[in-house]
C-alpha cells in the first residue's frame, strides 16, 4: 500500500512540476531484511527502513527531477557519505552532496520540511540565509556536524532542521543531520535529549528550541567556538 495519500501525491506532483529545477537524487541507506543485526550502535533491527525506502521511491515517482538510489549500509557508498546509522537519506543536487542527512524516517511534521528542503535544493537559489549568517559561516575553517534531534509529532522541529540544513547549503564545512530521537534511543540518551528540537554540534550540546535564524547560527557556532579559528 502507498504511504502517501492520493491527494498528497497529486498535490506534490503539481508542486514539484512547478518548482523543481535541478535534479535531486535521494540516496537511501538501509538493510534489506529487518531482522539482521546491524552495525549501528542503536537498533538491532531497522524498524523503519522499509517504510523509509518506500517513501523515497514514492517521491521519485512523482517527478522526473527526483530519483531514488538505494544502498545497503554495508556498501562502500555508506562510507563515502559517512553514514553512521540507518535508515539514512542523503539528498544530492545534480549529484552534489550538500552535507544534508536524514537519520530515521522523515514522517509527521518532518515530511513537509523534507519537501521544502528538496524544493530549495532544486531551485538553485542557495541557502537563503541572511548576510550576517553567511558572514559568520564564512569564518569557519574546520568541519562542523550539526545534529538536530526531533520527534515527528513536534511542530517546531522542522524550522530548526531547515535552519541547520541551510547552514549546510551555505558552507562546505557544515554537515546537518536530522535525527529522529525515537529511532535512535541510545544516541538520544547519551546526548541527554529530553526536549526537541535538541541541537548538538560536533557531539557537544548547543541548545534546545527552534530559535530564529540569527540566534540559531550563533548558538551553533558558540558551541564550538573554542575549536574554530578565524581564517585570517
Amino acid at each position: 500500500m502507498a504511504l502517501l495519500s492520493k491527494e498528497d501525491s497529486e498535490f506534490l506532483k503539481n508542486k514539484f512540476e512547478e518548482e523543481l529545477v535541478r535534479k535531486i537524487t535521494l540516496v537511501y541507506f538501509g538493510k534489506e531484511s529487518s531482522d539482521l543485526v546491524l552495525p549501528t550502535e542503536d537498533s538491532t533491527e531497522c524498524r523503519y527502513c522499509e517504510a523509509t525506502h518506500q517513501l523515497m521511491e514514492e517521491l521519485a515517482g512523482l517527478s522526473e527531477n527526483i530519483e531514488a538510489n538505494a544502498f545497503d549500509i554495508d556498501d562502500e557508498e555508506a562510507e563515502k557519505y559517512g553514514i553512521r546509522m540507518i535508515p539514512a537519506i542523503v539528498p544530492l543536487v545534480e549529484g552534489e552532496d550538500k552535507g544534508i542527512r536524514y537519520y530515521g524516517i522523515p514522517s509527521g511534521y518532518e515530511f513537509g520540511g523534507m519537501i521544502e528542503t528538496i524544493i530549495q535544493l532544486s531551485s538553485g537559489e542557495g541557502s537563503r540565509l541572511s548576510s550576517e549568517s553567511l558572514d559568520a559561516l564564512s569564518k569557519l575553517s574546520i568541519p562542523i556536524s550539526i545534529d538536530v534531534f526531533i520527534t515527528p509529532t513536534c511542530p517546531y522541529c522542522p524550522t530548526a532542521v531547515m535552519t541547520a540544513h541551510r547552514m549546510a547549503m551555505a558552507s562546505e564545512y557544515v554537515t546537518s543531520n536530522m535525527i529522529e530521537a525515537n529511532e535512535f534511543p541510545v544516541l538520544s540518551t547519551q546526548n541527554n535529549v529530553y526536549s526537541v528540537p535538541h541541537i548538538t554540534v560536533n557531539g557537544r550540546y548547543a541548545f534546545v528550541g527552534a530559535l530564529p535564524e540569527r540566534e540559531f547560527v550563533e548558538g551553533v557556532l558558540n558551541a564550538v567556538m573554542d575549536t574554530i579559528r578565524d581564517k585570517d
Binding site: 498535490f11 513536534c154 511542530p155 522541529c157 530521537a181 529530553y194 527552534a210
Partner: protein, 323 residues
C-alpha cells in the same frame, strides 16, 4: 501508522486586502471566510498551522466530528479549506507591525526591508504556555522541563514524570504521557481538578496516573538534567523532595502580544480588547481566538471569532474602498 504533513507556499506579491497573523484555528477560520469573500488574503505562520491544536493529540469536543479527531488532522483540513478559497499561507515569523495608519505594514523574518502591506490585519497569534516561575525551571528547560506533550512525551519512555496543573490541558497531556511513561504524578494546588468531568474520569481510571493534591512544585533540581522536584503540601506547609525524570508544566496561558502591545489596547492580563465584531481600538485591526480577552478559549470559539473578524474586515474594506 505514519502521517505526513506538508507545508506552505512562497509569496510573490506584497500587497494584500487582509493579512492574518497566526495560523491557529482562529487565523485559519478567518482565512477561509476572507478567501470566500474574495479578499486577497495572506496568512503568516511562524511554526506550523494549527497552533495549539498541534500540541495535543485528540480534539473531541469540536462539533461535527463525532469520533475524536487528531489535532494535526483538523489543522490540516482547515489549512486546505482556506487554500481552496484562495488564501495564501506563508511560513514566516512576523517580527514587527505598524498598524495605526490606513495602510498597515507587516514585517517578516525573511524579508526585513520590504514590509508586506494590507488594508486590514487580523491578529491571531494565540497564546503560549505560562511559566511556573520557580527555581530550576529555566535552567532545566529542555533538560527535563517541558511545555510540549506531543514533542517530548516520546522521550520519556518507561520514565517517571511529574505533571503540574489541574486543567484540561494538564489532564489531557497526562493521559497522553501514559502511552510512554511508566508513571505520571499530577501535582495540583487545589483539592480537586479543574478539568472537564469526562477527562477527570479517564485520568482517575488510569492506573499509571496518581494525584498529589493541595500541593505546588517549589523547586526543580538536578545536575545535567532534572533529577527531582521539591513538592510542598500547602495544607501542611511542608516540602519534600521527589525523585523524577521529567516535569511537564501546564499551568495556563499567556497571550502572544509582544508584537502589538503598543499598537492596540489590551487588558491588565495582556489580552487584546475587542467588541463583539472583533474590532480592536485601531481601525482595520481585529483580534481573534486565544489572544483576545474572553471567557472560553477553545477551538470552537476561536473559529467563531475568525469568521466574525473576516466579515468585519470585508465590510471595512468594501465601505472604505479607494479602488
Amino acid at each position: 501508522m505514519f502521517d505526513f504533513r506538508l507545508t506552505g507556499e512562497r509569496i510573490q506579491d506584497n500587497r494584500f486586502d487582509v493579512v492574518i497573523i497566526g495560523g491557529g484555528p482562529a487565523g485559519l477560520s478567518a482565512a477561509i471566510y476572507a478567501g470566500r469573500a474574495r479578499l486577497k488574503t495572506l496568512l503568516l505562520e511562524k511554526t506550523a498551522t494549527g497552533g495549539q491544536i498541534t500540541l495535543t493529540e485528540y480534539i473531541e469536543n469540536y462539533p461535527g466530528f463525532e469520533e475524536p479527531i487528531l489535532g494535526t488532522t483538523l489543522a490540516e483540513k482547515m489549512e486546505k479549506q482556506a487554500q481552496r478559497f484562495g488564501a495564501k499561507i506563508h511560513y514566516a515569523e512576523v517580527t514587527s507591525v505598524k498598524l495605526k495608519d490606513d495602510e498597515k505594514k507587516i514585517y517578516i523574518s525573511d524579508e526585513n526591508d520590504n514590509p508586506i502591506t494590507s488594508r486590514a490585519v487580523i491578529l491571531a497569534m494565540g497564546a503560549s504556555p505560562r511559566k511556573l516561575r520557580v527555581s530550576g525551571e529555566e535552567e532545566f528547560t529542555g533538560k527535563g522541563v517541558s511545555y510540549c506533550g506531543p514533542c517530548d512525551a516520546p522521550l520519556f519512555k518507561d520514565k517517571y514524570v511529574i505533571v503540574v496543573g489541574g486543567g484540561d490541558t494538564a489532564i489531557e497531556e497526562s493521559l497522553f504521557l501514559t502511552k510512554f511513561a511508566r508513571r505520571v504524578s499530577v501535582v495540583h494546588r487545589r483539592n480537586k481538578l479543574r478539568a472537564t468531568a469526562i477527562l477527570q474520569e479517564r485520568a482517575m481510571a488510569n492506573p499509571k496516573i496518581d494525584f498529589i493534591f493541595n500541593s505546588v512544585v517549589r523547586e526543580i533540581k538536578g545536575d545535567a538534567k532534572v533529577e527531582s522536584v521539591i513538592i510542598e503540601n500547602l495544607k501542611e506547609g511542608k516540602g519534600k523532595e521527589v525523585k523524577c525524570d521529567g516535569i511537564f508544566i501546564f499551568v495556563g496561558l499567556e497571550p502572544e502580544t509582544g508584537l502589538i502591545k503598543n499598537e492596540v489596547e489590551c487588558n491588565d492580563n495582556g489580552f487584546v480588547l475587542t467588541n463583539e465584531d472583533m474590532e480592536t481600538n485601531v481601525k482595520g485591526v481585529y483580534a481573534v481566538g486565544d489572544i483576545r480577552a474572553k471567557s472560553l478559549r477553545q477551538v470552537v470559539t476561536a473559529v467563531s471569532d475568525g469568521a466574525i473578524a473576516a466579515m468585519s474586515a470585508y465590510k471595512y474594506i468594501t465601505s472604505n474602498s479607494p479602488r
